[in-house]
């Protein structure tokens, strides 16, 4: 047995079918779109995070203290890359693997042209354990593990400015830590491009760690250790433990710290989503406000009737707010159901998102949380009640005689 006001509200929503349907559809659409976009973004953001963590940064990184603050990739601030040091890191519980890197700048030369470039030296075997996505970083050609010890992977930008094709030979010229110049030849074996990340328009190169250590005369040393965890969500938890284990001359950073731009990008995406959702919801709620205003005007006499049998102002207010919430909730539930089905379906089968200039489309698995669905459902119902507040107050403030004499 429904409470009488609820019964009246429910039947009135059904009474004016067409108008209710239009309002209902607006809320339905708004919520459907909100849930779908949220689900899609959840999937996209998870993929981006994975791409960064599993393809670039690792979950944690260790540098010499001060390295991250220095403007240039400085070769002064080196850390050990020997087995003993790496084992100290992998001994920490939750750590899966660690790999050493050197970041350095140099001149690449070929065909009498030269170009300044940023190089990253990686351990061809360990790097793929810490950052398995590096496997996919080859846009064309082979990765370092499959190539000779003097192989290099170049960004398209660098290759084209040098005018070299895959398989051709070039030279890196750079100065070591003491400022002494040194040069080594390399073979251009792979072209760089990482799935999930924008194709860099910079001049970048990747070389084997041993090659760089020889070129820079820094055997057994590196500038960065990248670390894989069993679960990358544990990064914040393990960071202080690792810091403790290594001591104050080193600095442990999470992927959030070193790739803050990712968090910024995600925040921007969320902002845009909320903006779009907000506009849709606003329009839907305007529809509810309009529907309720019309309803109040049409039912003025009915309001007068209720007042004549002793219904209190608050009860009239409740009745109309209830009607609006019912409209909002009904549209919202269906919207959440349809949006949720979309998310579940693609969350199961995955969604291929083609990225311009990328050979492989991004594979996205949308997800949605129950709490988000609950949140927007209450937003729809509460927003509807808010939108109906003015018409409802108007209804409850009517003077009985005037309401009764309306036609």
């Amino acid at each position: 047995m429904l409470p009488p006001l609820f019964r009246i509200a429910f039947r009135n929503v059904l009474r004016n079918r067409r108008r209710s349907l239009i309002t209902f559809s607006a809320v339905f659409l708004a919520l459907g779109i909100m849930v779908s976009i949220r689900g899609f973004l959840n999937g996209l953001q998870a993929t981006i995070r994975e791409s960064v963590v599993l393809g670039q940064t690792g979950a944690l990184q260790v540098h010499r203290k001060g390295f991250l603050k220095s403007v240039n990739a400085s070769l002064d601030q080196v850390i050990p890359s020997d087995e003993a040091f790496l084992r100290k890191i992998t001994a920490v519980s939750g750590v899966k693997a660690a790999t050493a890197r050197i970041m350095f700048g140099g001149m690449a030369n070929a065909n009498d042209t030269s170009a300044a470039a940023m190089f990253t030296a990686i351990d061809p075997v360990q790097e793929l354990i810490v950052c398995p996505r590096r496997n996919e970083m080859i846009y064309r050609g082979k990765n370092l593990k499959e190539s000779s010890p003097i192989a290099a992977i170049l960004s398209p930008e660098l290759a084209s400015s040098l005018g070299i094709k895959l398989g051709q030979r070039a030279t890196i010229l750079t100065s070591d830590r003491d400022g002494v110049m040194n040069a080594l030849d390399f073979d251009f074996t792979g072209q760089y491009g990482q799935p999930g990340l924008p194709l860099p328009d910079k001049k970048l190169g990747f070389v084997p760690l041993a090659f760089a250590q020889q070129l820079l005369r820094m055997e057994g040393k590196a500038t960065e250790i990248a670390i894989a965890l069993h679960r990358f969500e544990d990064a914040e938890r393990i960071k202080p433990i690792l810091q403790e284990a290594l001591g104050p001359e080193y600095e442990v950073a999470t992927w959030h710290d070193v790739a803050a731009y990712i968090d910024d990008a995600i925040a921007t995406q969320n902002f845009i989503l909320n903006l779009i959702a907000g506009v849709f919801l606003f329009v839907a709620l305007l529809g509810i406000a309009n529907t309720m205003l019309m309803s109040v005007l049409e039912r003025t006499r009915e309001i007068g009737t209720m007042m004549s049998v002793g219904v209190r102002r608050r009860q009239i207010l409740t009745l109309f707010l209830l009607e609006a919430s019912l409209l909002g909730l009904a549209g919202g539930i269906l919207g959440a159901l349809v949006g949720g089905s979309f998310v579940l379906y693609y969350g199961h089968s995955g969604m291929l998102l083609p990225i311009p200039e990328m050979p492989v489309p991004l594979h996205i698995f949308p997800t949605i949380s129950a709490s988000y669905i609950l949140f927007i459902l209450s937003l729809a119902a509460g927003g509807a009640a808010l939108a109906a507040l003015w018409p409802s107050i108007r209804a409850s403030r009517m003077r009985p005689v005037e309401a009764l004499s309306s036609v």
Binding site: R301, E302, G310, R312, R314, R399, V401, L404
Partner: protein, 239 residues
Amino acid sequence: MSQTERSAALITLRNIVKQYHLGKTIVPALQGVDLQVARGEFTVVMGPSGSGKSTLLNIIGCLDSPTSGTYHFDGQEVSNRDFDKLAELRNRKIGIIFQSFNLIPVLNVIENVEFPCLMRKDPEPLGSLRERVVKLCEDVGLGPYLKHRPDELSGGQRQRVAIARALITHPELVLADEPTANLDSKTSEQIIALMQRLNEQMGVTFIFSTHDPRVMQHAKRVVHIADGKIVERNPLVAA
């Protein structure tokens, strides 16, 4: 006025004036009405169109307030009560029947009749209420139509629903503003006869307005009103 008269009066209106403002002109709808109605009376307010019958009944029913004058209901001044106090009074002590029935369209007969009782802060248990509602509906001749919505009923049937709704709260006073104006003469007779019977059986005080001289014959007391004034008091039965 004697003490017995005072206690017998259910309502007492003194020098009630009601003015409407239409732009700059003032329309005097009631121009100093004095009226007492005793418990159990069946009073007809007669008067031509525009004479102020509805205005008077609206004030008696606490749907409107007078411009000046005092109104005592059951010995208590009501003119200066707030909306919810008046709502409470209408809900418990006054039943109102309208010319245009004024039922709630989405509720069926039973639900319309029980509605005033359910809107109370302390509604009675639904079981016993339903029992009373069904009994009353049957009593006013709605037995076969309990589940009908208002738009599935004739005018006479709708007015019976309105009468049942006015009586379900056991009010002290039932007001009916031209309750038969929208009905044919045969149905009108039946409705008036019904109200009269309920007046006699339940002892409820009835005040109803009409400008149809034919219904006068049923009245125990007729109050004539013209141009917002009571022109003649004709107590056929002493209070």
